[in-house]
């Protein structure tokens, strides 16, 4: 339990660091980005809006940094992330309406690619040295292909040219969001291609990692023992795979951040609603309150997912539990 609590403390500390970075960056950056933004906004938005932005970033309030910091944290604890400049509504409202698209797409994509990739890794590890090894360079190439490139190519071939999939968006624009079968079917249909691109581009990493671990594990004595006992090939493979999967699970926590980063782009390419799309638009419009809110949301979600992955590892590997004793 101590190991897990320790991890929890680290994530808590990371969360605090993120909040602090978020607080400090706009205030200490050279060139005073907030002042410039307010200059640009003069006349474009209501005076109340400018006042709200000034208040959020501590402009012209003559407060000490510390008072501003306490105020900022207090606001965050009450779920107040400020008001989006371009959308003119509270950032927390904007985010809570959009996050489910991202969580759904990336979550399903991550789970599917982890399972398929790991299973393929077991197979290719088992058949190492055979012709099947030719898949390694191919997988390496696939792993190096940027997410957004793969997505664009998929759109070009399967949506724009062959018309097998809808071009972009998350559901048929003629439908309105509701709990009906046609709507859900449309969401699934529109999700196929973005999901495929996430799975394809993250699959290779899991596969290569699992293959390496499988090869390493297969030269362990207990696997030889299993063969000597005369167990069927499938049982031996299962034996080795169960032990080889641990590093993959341990890596899960580290990879979630990378996966989320890559998937943010998938939304941009497929014009899929969600946090990634919001983020890119927020940067383009210099909507700093929205930008900061998204950054906090993404980081907190990734930290939460990391902790879940750590907990899973803790449950799966008894050695992590005994390690806490000494």
């Amino acid at each position: 339990m101590r190991t897990l609590l320790r991890r929890f403390a680290i994530y808590l500390f990371t969360a605090w660091t993120t909040i602090t970075v978020n607080f400090i960056l706009p205030r200490l950056m050279p060139g005073d980005p907030i002042q410039q933004l307010i200059g640009k906004l003069q006349g474009r938005v209501t005076p109340e809006m400018i006042k709200a932005i000034k208040a959020q970033f501590g402009q012209g309030l003559n407060q000490s940094m510390w008072t501003q910091y306490v105020h900022y944290i207090n606001q965050l604890l009450h779920g107040d992330l400020g008001i989006s400049i371009t959308l003119s509504s509270p950032v927390s409202d904007v985010l809570s309406s959009q996050i489910w698209w991202t969580v759904g797409l990336i979550g399903v994509g991550a789970v599917v690619s982890f399972f398929i990739g790991t299973a393929l890794g077991v197979l290719f590890g088992w058949t190492r040295g055979s012709r099947a090894d030719a898949v390694i360079p191919a997988a390496t190439f696939l792993q190096s292909v940027p997410y957004y490139f793969l997505g664009t190519i998929l759109i070009m071939i399967f949506a724009a040219t062959l018309h097998w999939f809808p071009l972009m968006g998350a559901y048929d624009p003629s439908l309105s969001p509701e709990w009906s079968w046609t709507y859900i079917a449309s969401v699934l249909r529109y999700g196929e291609l973005p999901l495929t691109s996430i799975v394809l581009s993250s699959l290779a990493g899991w596969m290569l990692g699992m293959r390496n671990m499988m090869v390493t594990t297969m030269s362990e004595d207990f696997v030889l023992m299993a063969v000597a006992k005369g167990l069927s090939r499938r049982r031996v493979m299962w034996h080795a795979a169960r032990n080889a999967v641990l590093p993959s699970v341990a890596n899960l926590a580290l990879t979630i951040g990378l996966l989320v980063s890559g998937s943010l782009l998938v939304e941009q390419i497929f014009n899929y609603p969600g946090v990634g799309n919001l983020l890119v638009n927020a940067v383009g419009n210099e909507d700093y309150p929205l930008l900061q809110g998204i950054f906090l949301l993404i980081t907190f979600t990734v930290l939460g997912a990391n902790f879940l992955a750590d907990a899973l590892y803790y449950v799966l590997d008894p050695r992590t539990r005994t390690a806490a004793v000494h």
Partner: protein, 315 residues
């Protein structure tokens, strides 16, 4: 230094060859580019031909010239970011692993924080607060990328340093009274070289990818040619919908090739660090030569040695 010998597997050789081609292009690319990448005087949307090897864009620019000119910025940012990040990770990893105690606690915590914060969103946030002049400056962007990319290497190096710290040869030089930095630099350092090399390759890979991503999103200066901005212009002119594959494919494939070459070289280093992986390199031809009829499987790590009769046949 014999330990530095890289296994001569075909994977590593292919990787080295591809990487060298791109390094040469980094140096000479802008000089051998046939046209000015900004010139939009050509007929738009030409498919590849002798005049335009990779065709032209919707804006009437030559794709090959953009690719060649863009190679330099992309690679230089990747290498600078990779080098700086690796230097940080060596410093942090060695110090944390060797000194231990409070230093280790602090540095490890720092590395863990940087590992847990998702890199790309952090980069986007930092980048958006940079003054416009710095956003356009590849050097600044490279340094910011390095700031987000050092933690993984530091963690691996720390673990290896800790396992080396208590070995006899390190103990011996401590007893002789060697200075601490000297032990770190000349006793432990050389033994970390394979891992440092692996983490350098990995970080360059990360940096090239991330820089292109930022450029693709239009967050760096879109008039500086690199592979990411090429994709940015292709995307904003709907090249995918118009099926203009000659415009889309070159930058994406170039990024993927650089990544593949780095990963292939890394395979060689992996096989060096973990000898068990090396046994997998037994090809069907080698097997036939030594007279193994079946593929070696579990528990047997084949050792290749020519039998005396074979040696005679060869000579």
């Amino acid at each position: 230094m014999k330990a530095l010998r890289i296994p001569r597997s075909p994977k590593v050789i292919v990787g080295l060859v591809i990487l060298s081609v791109f390094i040469v292009l980094t140096v000479i690319g802008p000089w051998i580019a046939p046209y000015d990448p900004n010139a939009n005087t050509f007929i738009p949307n030409l498919t590849p031909s002798w005049e335009h090897w990779f065709g032209t864009t919707t804006l009437g620019q030559d794709v090959l010239s953009q690719l060649l000119v863009g190679c330099r910025v992309t690679m230089v940012v990747g290498f600078i970011a990779g080098l700086v990040a690796t230097l940080i990770s060596i410093a942090v990893g060695l110090a944390a692993g060797y000194i231990g105690g409070r230093t280790d606690e602090g540095l490890s915590l720092l590395a863990n924080v940087f590992l847990a914060i998702p890199g790309l969103p952090l980069l986007i946030v930092i980048n958006s607060y940079l003054p416009a002049g710095s956003q356009a400056n590849p050097l600044v962007v490279g340094l910011v990328i390095a700031l987000t990319g050092w933690a993984w290497g530091a963690r691996v190096l720390r673990a290896q340093t800790m396992s080396l710290r208590d070995r006899d040869f390190v103990e011996a030089s401590r007893i002789i009274g060697e200075k601490r930095w000297r032990i770190m630099w000349s006793e432990i350092g050389p033994n970390l070289l394979p891992i440092i090399a692996a983490s350098l390759l990995f970080t360059i890979l990360y940096a090239v990818g991330v820089y292109s991503t930022l450029a693709f999103l239009g967050l760096t200066n879109v008039s500086t040619w690199n592979w990411g901005t090429m994709m940015y212009w292709a995307q904003s002119n709907n090249a995918a919908l118009a099926n203009e594959w000659w415009w889309l494919a070159p930058p994406g494939v170039a990024i993927a090739l650089v990544g593949t070459s780095l990963a292939l070289i890394n395979f060689g280093i992996d096989e060096f660090i973990n000898p068990r992986l090396r046994a997998a390199g037994l090809t069907a031809r080698q097997r036939r030569r030594v007279g193994l009829t079946r593929r070696p499987r579990l528990g047997f790590t084949p050792v290749l040695r020519q039998s005396p009769t074979d040696a005679k046949k060869v000579s």
